[in-house]
Symmetry: C2
């Protein structure tokens, strides 16, 4: 469990991973999907995810540079967990407050 928790640790890492489950995304795509996330933090999260082997990054040559972030096979293992996060969130919202 601690291993899985480390993978999704931090609120933003999880939301970045969710976006990537829908397909490859550029740096700007990710920023557009997470409007309140600063460039610095996004860079930090991506660096961490790449270091953990969950995400890979490819860059186009030339200028301006284009990047493409995508999930590795290891990153794809997180999909069921992300789906369960979604389902559990819905169940919690359905529950009457304070009972």
């Amino acid at each position: 469990m601690e291993v899985a928790l480390a993978a999704i640790s931090g609120r933003w890492a999880t939301l970045v991973l969710r976006d990537l489950t829908h397909g490859p995304r550029s740096f700007s795509d990710l920023r557009a999907g997470l409007p309140t996330l600063s460039a610095k933090v996004l860079t930090e999260r991506l660096d961490g995810l790449v270091a953990q082997g969950l995400v890979r990054c490819s860059r186009s040559p030339g200028f301006p540079v284009r990047t493409s972030y995508s999930l590795t096979s290891k990153g794809l293992l997180l999909r069921p967990l992300l789906e369960q996060l979604y389902r559990t969130g819905e169940a919690l919202l359905d529950e009457v407050p304070d009972h």
Copy 2:
């Protein structure tokens, strides 16, 4: 998803919840199960979980005091998520490092 993430936010909150899925636990039980967790942090996590309505606490009268923490119906909703965390953790460990 953000709702579910909030529920298990923090590494320790999740591990406390896991212990409670096995039944009611006293403060000492929980400490024994999480040896590296300080009393202060355990108290903080429990207070937070109670405030979120996921855990309840009952105290025996007399001295020395005995407490019993258990999951509420809302807390029980987290069970599938905790199981998925376990399964995902195992899958990540099976994966060859760096691929």
